[in-house]
Each structure stands twice: as structure tokens, then as C-alpha cells.
């Protein structure tokens, strides 16, 4: 029975190919840029419907972990995981349209911004009720195991969601049945305005893994290569039938809880400190030092990204809003 203490943080520069690193960089930058565009432009221009939550500073987590997914693996992201949608191949056009409430958005205007899901891409739509996705993802994994498939389920949550009963029930069910699932936690030190010490008496979410007899690992969530490596291990473990793991990524929310929150309750020094650990420059610097990328390539990458987003914004703006009567459609199965 695995009862190890949560592992120490480890940063690894192990043999990750240049190609993969570029891919990681691309998705992180794409994620950052889309969210910047949404929050800092479109939202302020009044073009976004509803509130906006971004994962600025946390891009390494979704990107460095979900990149390991096989096509038929399934993922249940949470509200700071834009990168996952991109990696799963949901188009930037549909995503921007989603945030603008258009008919061409991922949920056709039915649900809000990051509540995106599409079973064609094996992405389960987030419901607001935190940690509800834990039993649901466990159910996917249960079916995989039952049918002898080598598929895995990835389940994402923030530190705050861990307090919900559904987190406990879902993780317990998954560990009792040794299901092929990985529980990823982005621990960004806050749940809205509530700091960690008012959420849990333990120091680390990973300290809870022991309660379910699964491995718990703590990883620098701002080092995409560390995220990549730790995730690979946990996913492989799940795929090989060895059961669930808990992987905690230490990170920091570089914004307020949502666009309307100035995070006045967060000591400014923390932002400054974590700014230095921004995962994107960190990878860029590393790659440049290793001679794996040039500034010019980076600039080109960024340019390409901006073009992709420009195109998506235009496409979304030209997309129709849903018809009012669409309101009535799709509650029940229709032949």
C-alpha cells in the first residue's frame, strides 16, 4: 500500500524533444494570448457575455499535462484550463464565439464561456458546482476499466474544490476500484479570496493522497517541463492499471478571481515574486539557452498566434447569435 509522503518538488530537464518543447511553448502562448485578448480587449469592449475567468500564470499546468492524452482519453477540465481545450483540438474560432454567446460557439450560446465541452473531442463540459466533475470523470474511468480499454480519464480542479464532498466521494470511489484516472490540482494559493489556510489544515493538497492510498506528488506548476514529466508518470501509471494518482501543481493566480476582481486581498509582493516565475518566459529562456529556439522564432510564433486569434475574433463577430427559439431546443433527446 503506497503511503509515501508527498514528494519534494523536482524540476526536470529530462529528454523532452525540441519538438515537444516547441509545442508546449506554442500552446502556453496561445492560451495566454487568447485569454489576454478575451479579458483585456474583448471584455473591456463589452463584446464578451458574462464574467471572465482566466488562468494567467497557470498555463503550464493544463498544457504540460493534457498534452499526454491519447485521442480517446477523456478530460474533465475546470475553469482555468483554457489550454486543455486547445490541445484537444477545439478551434479558437469556436472558443471565441463561445465567449461572445454566438450560435457557432462550442455550446451554441447555451452556456457560459469556459463551460465548454464536446464529446467529439473527449472534453467534458465543466459545471459551475466545483468538484462535481470528480465522480463524473471517475465514471468514465470505471467504464474504461470495465471494458478492458487502455484509456484514461484526467480530472482537473483547483485547491478550493478539494473541500467539496464530491471530491472526496469521487476520489474514494476511484481509488477503491483502482480506476485509470489522474487527479490534477492547480494549487494557486487562493479560492476566490480565501487563502489556503482557511481551506484546509494541511499544507499541501497532495498530503491528502495518503487518505486514499494513492501516490501524491507536488510539482512546480510554473515549470512546464516538470509538469510534463510528472503528468507522464501519473498517466502512464493509470494506463497500466496501477490506479489513480494525485498530482498537485504549485502555482499562483496572476489575476483576480475573475475580471471584476482586483484581488486587493492578495499581498502585492506575491504577484511580484510569482511574476518572476512566469512559465512562458521561463521556458523561452531555457530553450534559448539550449539553442532550441531563437527570439525570431518566438516572435513568429507569437505573430502566428495573434493572426489566428484575429481571424477567430472576426469569425466570431460575424457569427450569428442563436435564434431566440433555440431556447426551447435540446432539453430532451429528439430523434
Amino acid at each position: 500500500m503506497p503511503k509515501q509522503k508527498a514528494a519534494e518538488r523536482k524540476i526536470s530537464k529530462m529528454k523532452i524533444s525540441k519538438k515537444t518543447k516547441k509545442e508546449l511553448l506554442y500552446y502556453m502562448k496561445l492560451t495566454r494570448s487568447i485569454e489576454d485578448r478575451i479579458e483585456r480587449k474583448l471584455y473591456r469592449q463589452g463584446k464578451i457575455v458574462g464574467g471572465v475567468y482566466v488562468g494567467r500564470g497557470q498555463e503550464a499546468i493544463g498544457v504540460g499535462s493534457a498534452i499526454h492524452m491519447e485521442e480517446d482519453d477523456i478530460v474533465a477540465p475546470t475553469h482555468r484550463d483554457m489550454g486543455i481545450f486547445l490541445i484537444r483540438g477545439i478551434s479558437v474560432r469556436r472558443i471565441i464565439a463561445q465567449y461572445m454567446g454566438r450560435k457557432t460557439g462550442v455550446t451554441k450560446g447555451k452556456d457560459a464561456n469556459m463551460h465548454m465541452g464536446d464529446l467529439n473531442h473527449n472534453v467534458i463540459a465543466f459545471v459551475s458546482h466545483l468538484a462535481d466533475n470528480v465522480p463524473v470523470a471517475a465514471g468514465c474511468a470505471l467504464a474504461f476499466k470495465m471494458r478492458g480499454e487502455k484509456r484514461v480519464a484526467l480530472c482537473y480542479n483547483g485547491d478550493g474544490a478539494v473541500s467539496r464532498g464530491d471530491w472526496h466521494e469521487g476520489v474514494n470511489l476511484a481509488t477503491v476500484h483502482k480506476l485509470p484516472i489522474v487527479f490534477f490540482i492547480n494549487n494557486n494559493a487562493y479560492a476566490y479570496s480565501t487563502p489556503l489556510n482557511l481551506q484546509m489544515a494541511v499544507e499541501n493538497v497532495a498530503d491528502r493522497a495518503v487518505a486514499y492510498a494513492m501516490p501524491g506528488e507536488i510539482v512546480d506548476g510554473n515549470d512546464v517541463l516538470a509538469v510534463y514529466e510528472a503528468s507522464e508518470r501519473a498517466i502512464r501509471r493509470a494506463r497500466q492499471g496501477e490506479g489513480p494518482s494525485l498530482v498537485e501543481f504549485k502555482t499562483f493566480r496572476m489575476t483576480g478571481h475573475s475580471a471584476h476582481d482586483d484581488a486587493g486581498y492578495v499581498p502585492r509582493e506575491l504577484f511580484e515574486e510569482w511574476q518572476k516565475r512566469d512559465p512562458i518566459p521561463k521556458l523561452e529562456t531555457f530553450m534559448k539557452k539550449e539553442g532550441e529556439i531563437t527570439q525570431e522564432e518566438i516572435d513568429n510564433m507569437q505573430k502566428e498566434i495573434e493572426e489566428t486569434i484575429d481571424d477567430a475574433v472576426q469569425w466570431a463577430e460575424n457569427s450569428p447569435f442563436p435564434d431566440p427559439e433555440d431556447t426551447l431546443k435540446g432539453v430532451y433527446y429528439e430523434e
Binding site: 477523456i74 465541452g117 467534458i124 465522480p135 465514471g139 470505471l142 467504464a143 474514494n172
Partner: protein, 324 residues
Amino acid sequence: MALTTYVEAIRQGIWEEMESDERVFILGEDVGIYGGAFKVTKGMLEHFGRERVIDTPISESAIVGAAIGASYVGMRPIVEMQFIDFISCAFDQLTNFAAKSRYRWGAGVPIVVRGPCGGGVHGGPFHSQNVESFFMNTPGLKIVAPSTAYDAKGLIKAAIRDEDPVLYFEHKYLYRRIKEELPEENYIVPIGKAVIRREGRDLSIITYSAVTHTALEASEALAKENIEIEVLDLRTILPLDEEAILQTARKTNKVIILHEATLTGGSGGEIAARIAEKAFEYLDGPIVRIAPPDTPVPYSPPLEEFFLPQVEDVIEAARKLAAY
């Protein structure tokens, strides 16, 4: 041919669907080696194996959540609540995850959540509830509540085949108290269709689940007084068979609604409202509701008897309404 009890009818229905569709499996507390608290899943572990008959921890929310997840990847899970009262612990998963999924992002949730409801066995406040109206304001869910062994089997099969989440409320008082001959052949009872249990001209009783029998008994008694009652058994409570409801109201012009859930906020309100709006011109008397008083289900026999609608209560109300 042998008579089949209500509980056995449910068991047969599940069994047949599990035989014919390998996507169907069951999960819940003590459904495996024990065969379920009321033995609905008896023998299934042995026959279908532990992959398809899963004993879970006491985690109603996770059980329902897991069923939702499994349904997303192609399974057809059946969840057993040991007593339907415990569905309160899964309320969030049902109303927010399951019910809204298809609407929000097109992902259907073909799951069945079933369990024993209702009183009459001195189960007290937590083992006797009728929970349908907790869910009646949540579009996306379906609710069925059979009153006969035939319907119990036909509706569980229909529920399992349905593409949407179905709550299946089986009445524990009926489990072993009613039996009938069931057809040899494979049949279903379609969800959404009420049935007239007794034709009548003087007034209609609209009801479902165990108290359907109360209505029928009262109707028999009143037939002797030449009051001919029509008894409509809804079978499905969500979505309601509005056509059947309005039809019987328009036919007899007087309506009693009878249910075992407590009065205020019970399903009777919705039924009455539809009639009062859409068959208003046909009404020759007030719409009468008969239901337990607004209290938890009490435990001690004199209290529970007072609480539950009795045949006498129905007779009295019907006599009065007929004379209106």
C-alpha cells in the same frame, strides 16, 4: 402461468435489459453479494459478474456522478438508491450535471436512478419519503412511478433504453403485496403515457404509484352508490401526459388529484394548474387534492395511518365532489 410480484417484475426488467444490452450495468450500495436491501438485484452478481454489478461505498453523489460519466462514454448505468430518501445526497449531480447536460452541450445522459419510495411500513421520516417533487422543476429529468407489476417491468425497461436521465420510483409497499401474470414476450411501457385504470363518468381521480390502489378501492365502493369514477394512473410524472389529464377532466368535469407526497408543493399543484388553465371551461367543481398533511412522515402507526391518504378519505372527498 406464475404470478409475478412488483419487485420481481423490476428485477426481471433489469435482468432482461442486462442480457440484451451489455452496456447496461448496475451500481449502488449492497447490490452485489447481498442482492440489494430489497433484493431487486438478487442473483445478478453471480450471473453478470462483478464488473456489471458493483457494490459501491456509501457515496450517493459519487454513484450518480459516476453513472453520468460512464454514460458519456457509452454505458447505460442503473443506479440503486438503497432508499429513495438518500437521493437527496445526489440532488446536485442530478439537477445540475445530469439534467442540464444535453441542453448545455449536447451530451445525453442515459442513466436510470431507481429506489424504493413511499410509506406504509413504519419507516419513519427518512425511509418513507416521496421525492418526486424535488425534481419536478428541473427540465431534462424524467420521472416514472409504476403502480402495477406490469408497468414496473415495462417502465424499467423503457427507462433503461431512454436516452435521458430517468428517475424510477418504486413503491416499497407494493414490492411483495401485488402480483400479476406478465406477458412472456418482451414489452415496454412507454415513458410519458398515462393509463386509465377504470372508466367512469362522474369524476376523475388522477393519481400514480401505490395510492392508485387506494383510488381504485374507493371507486369500487362508490360504484355501489352509483358514482362512477374514472381513475387515471399517470405512470410518468415528468413529463406529464397532459393530453390524458385534460381528456379525463373534460370528460368527467370533476377532478380529484391524489398522491402520497405531502400536499404543499407536491406534484398535485402542477396537475391542478394545467387543468385550471387548459380545461377550465369544462370544470363543474373545484379541483380537489388529497394528500398527506404538510409534515414529515411520522413513525408510530397511529400517526402514519393518520398521515397517509386512506380509502375512506377518498370516498368522502369523492362523494362530496360528486354531489357538488
